[in-house]
């Protein structure tokens, strides 16, 4: 591929306008992080393969907002991720980051032991111990194991018949191990619209590994996943994801941050990848979405997470909500809830993450009558943990409005 298009090459487009800085949720709340322009295109000019001595870089949460708003096309967050990976490779990656970066491995261990594992996760003393030993903040949101994975449910789930259309569902680790309900509702909503839902075998997309600087491992995971999904994409099936961050990983992040532009499987998968709301809205625009929604009488704060905004598709969930009678939705204009994947779990970053999310939490508390809606799992857990208000994936509201429960 053209080397001028590499992530690093994009620093040439920076005109120093500071627009990214005005949006960065982290540098807006803490002086510990000198901001995207500084650690991104600016310092990158001072970096060689020997790495960079700027420890403050590690405060970047990787939320990607800077890249989304940069009018000149600088891949700021991607530059930061690559630089951080090099820095961590030199300084050593903490055990904590190695553990929280492997949700599927955690899931495999935790699922069969769900009751015990969940007991520990809810136990204050245990969380205190984890904080002391691993530096995972004791108050940080941690999901509970569901006990039965979505995969095992899907294997026994009878396919929709008769069906004229089929679609592939990429559920990601979290729906598999922690929130199979979200995945089941997604399947129900798709089936309600006449789709036979194919659930191929799938493992982690490597995103948490990537954001913790474990690039080689991340590449292994994402390539394998792409290899599993590619045959469907090649045959023309669209692939939908409920995890907006993992969907973005397959659409773009792996290609750019992990420098896998030449991976043909990944490119093919990316070309067929849709966020579930993006997909449903496109159905609606073609007149193919069922609109037999029953009224939902509630007021819901909706937060489009930072990774959702990275898709560059606007906020399709909002438009879908607009189809549901009675539903009043208040869009949050807050860019980030703070957690940004695994960032907010870390002891040294927990307070920053909470401060980033504070305006969102205030809004959610003020607006919600019952639930809040948000596309990303870690953000939902963060919102719930911070406000006590249950947070749901947008498909859950569609599911309810379709009367599928």
């Amino acid at each position: 591929m053209d080397t001028m298009e590499w992530v690093r090459g994009s620093l040439d487009h920076c005109v120093k306008c500071t627009i990214c800085e005005t949006f960065c949720p982290v540098s807006n709340v803490t002086p510990l992080f000198p901001g995207p322009k500084y650690v991104g295109p600016q310092l990158e000019r001072f970096r060689t393969d020997d790495g960079s001595p700027d420890a403050s870089l590690d405060y970047c949460s990787g939320c990607g907002i800077c890249t989304t708003v940069c009018p000149q096309g600088v891949k700021i967050a991607e530059i930061n991720s690559q630089a951080r990976a090099k820095m961590k490779a030199q300084r050593g990656i903490p055990l904590r980051d190695r553990i929280i970066a492997r949700p599927s491995a955690m899931g495999k261990v935790g699922t069969p032991l769900a009751p015990i594992a969940n007991f520990f996760l809810k136990n204050h003393a245990f969380r205190w111990l984890v904080e002391r030993t691993l530096r995972v903040h004791r108050k940080a949101p941690m999901p509970l194991f569901a006990g039965r994975t979505f995969q095992s449910w899907a294997r026994r789930h009878p396919p929709l018949t008769p069906a004229t259309k089929a679609i592939v569902y990429f559920h990601g680790c979290s729906a598999n191990h922690f929130e199979p309900r979200v995945a089941q509702m997604a399947v129900a909503v798709l089936e309600h619209n006449g789709y036979r839902v194919i659930v191929p075998r799938q493992d982690c997309c490597g995103l948490p590994l990537q954001s913790n600087g474990l690039f080689d491992d991340a590449r292994r995971y994402v390539r394998k996943l792409a290899r599993n999904l590619e045959p469907y994409a090649r045959r023309g099936y669209d692939i939908v994801a409920t995890s907006t961050s993992c969907g973005l990983m397959l659409k773009r992040e792996a290609r750019e941050i992990l420098e896998l532009e030449d991976d043909e499987d990944l490119r093919t998968v990316s070309a067929h990848m849709f966020d579930i709301c993006e997909f449903l809205l496109s159905l609606h625009e073609r007149g193919a979405l069922r609109t037999d929604f029953r009224p939902l009488d509630m007021r819901v704060p909706y937060h489009a997470p930072c990774q959702q905004q990275g898709h560059g598709i606007g906020k399709p969930a909002l438009e879908l909500f607009g189809l549901i009678p009675g539903l009043e939705v208040v869009d949050s204009d807050v860019a980030c809830c703070g957690v940004a994947g695994t960032y907010g779990l870390k002891t040294e970053k927990y307070d920053i993450a909470m401060e980033v999310g504070a305006p969102l939490f205030r809004q959610v508390t003020a607006v919600a009558t019952e639930v809040a809606a948000c596309d990303s799992e870690t953000c939902r857990w963060q919102i719930t943990r911070a406000t006590g208000i249950p947070s749901v994936h947008p498909v859950e509201l569609l599911y309810r409005a379709y009367g599928l429960s």
């Binding site: 708003v69 009018p71 070309a271």
Partner: protein
């Protein structure tokens, strides 16, 4: 995706067009790679500042200005449109009251102390008007590296002002609380929103002010709660307080951006920030789709009936000059006018001399539709607004926001009229 109208560009031109289209009931999608120059520019609506001598009365100056420059975009925009667009803006943005008329330019101090002509200005800047002469104290903030009140005051005392007007200016350096050495304008804007901070600043400043002095601050007086912040400071200091624009980011401009963005969303517009318009599909002299690049490795066409190109000029990259000296418009492949012939220099060695490429941009008909190389309308349903327009050198004329606002306003009128 589909819409009635697609606007490409989230600057003042694009958002103005977008808000008006959405409010007229058109399903409007606005695609912007990022926010535009509003985040950087002072938020004053400068209609015409130099022609090339200082313009005191823009309404009076415009007719001869366009008569001498038939290719200037103002030659396609009547003075009424310009005035109407400014009126629309101030009526529309209650939190951001604008003051001024097309009849007379304000003279507001810049951060180096040059009296700069502006027609419509945010009310919190108006008290800096130098035309009547006055006594000013300019407040320097300890950790803000983007404002040097001593140099400002020094230059202002020497500035060329209307005959008979004298200005007495001095600097007051504040040692506000805080330990960080380097605080951005936005950082200060947040600090000023805090009552406690304002009271500390006022307490330090008040005893050092002299009777009759107005106080100029760098433009950092609050973001979301700007008006309260400004009025409260004015109260505490018991005298007019005003903002002086300084280096990017522009807090005043961000306020304007927020107001327009919110109005667009409130009117039901679809906003796609972070995606790039990378091309278009056309048929029989009509644009049918704009093709955008989202995160996925596939082009996403947006179908619509009307399209607005508001991608800014060379500054935003949608119109670009390559290393061979060729100019390209990257979304619709439009012809770019005002480019010197091949082999001729694009720029000259002395910065303030007339630059041969200075006025390059999209040439348009009287309805602001782009023209092809032969001077014919390129696409019947494509309109252009803002800094993408050729024929102007807005940074020299000081006409940037005036042009962007009026042309954004005008293309929306043209489309709405067509739609009904």
């Amino acid at each position: 995706m589909s819409a009635d109208a697609v606007v490409v560009g989230a600057g003042l031109a694009g958002l103005t067009a977008g808000v008006r289209l959405a409010e007229a009931g058109l399903r409007t999608t606005l695609v912007g790679k990022g926010p535009g120059a509003m985040h950087l520019a002072p938020a004053t609506i400068d209609v015409l500042g130099y022609a090339p001598d200082l313009v005191e009365r823009p309404a009076a100056a415009l007719p001869s200005f366009v008569a001498e420059r038939p290719d200037h975009p103002y030659a396609r925009l009547s003075a009424d449109t310009v005035a109407a667009s400014a009126e629309w803006l101030s009526a529309h943005m209650p939190p951001l009251a604008y003051v001024g008329t097309l009849e007379e330019n304000y003279l507001l101090p810049t951060a180096v102390g040059v009296p700069k002509p502006s027609a419509f200005v945010p009310e919190a800047m108006a008290a800096g008007d130098l035309r009547s002469g006055s006594r000013f104290a300019f407040a320097g903030l300890r950790a803000l590296k983007d404002f040097y009140p001593a140099l400002l005051a020094d230059n202002l005392s020497q500035a060329k002002l209307p005959t008979g007007v004298t200005v007495d200016a001095r600097a007051v350096h504040l040692s506000d609380p805080g330990t960080e050495a380097d605080v951005s304008p936005l950082g200060y804007a947040r600090m000023f929103e805090d009552r406690e901070f304002r009271s500390v600043v006022a307490a330090e400043l008040l005893p050092r002010l002299e009777p009759g002095e107005s106080v100029g601050f760098p433009s950092v007086l609050g973001l979301h709660e700007h008006r309260t912040t400004w009025l409260d400071l004015q109260d505490r200091l018991g005298r007019p307080v005003f903002e002086v624009p300084t280096l990017p980011p522009s807090v005043a401009g961000i306020r304007l951006f927020h107001a327009l963005r919110d109005a667009f969303l409130a009117a039901g517009g679809r906003l796609l920030i972070g995606s790039t318009a990378a091309g278009a599909e056309t048929k029989d002299g009509v644009v049918t789709h704009v093709v955008i690049q989202t995160a996925a490795a596939r082009p996403t066409p947006i179908e619509a009936r009307w399209f607005v190109l508001a991608t800014g000029g060379f500054a935003e990259g949608a119109i670009f000059l390559d290393s061979y000296g060729e100019v390209h418009e990257s979304v619709f492949g439009l012809a770019v006018s005002g480019v010197p012939a091949a082999g001729e220099p694009r720029f000259v060695p002395r910065y303030f001399d007339d630059q041969p490429m200075g006025r390059a941009g999209i040439a348009v008909d009287e309805r602001l539709r782009p023209l092809d190389a032969d001077g014919n309308v390129a696409f019947r349903n494509l309109f252009t607004a803002g800094a993408a327009l050729g024929g102007a050198e807005p940074w020299r004329e000081l006409s940037g926001n005036g042009l962007a606002l009026a042309s954004g306003f005008a293309v929306a009128s043209a489309i709405v009229e067509w739609a009904s």
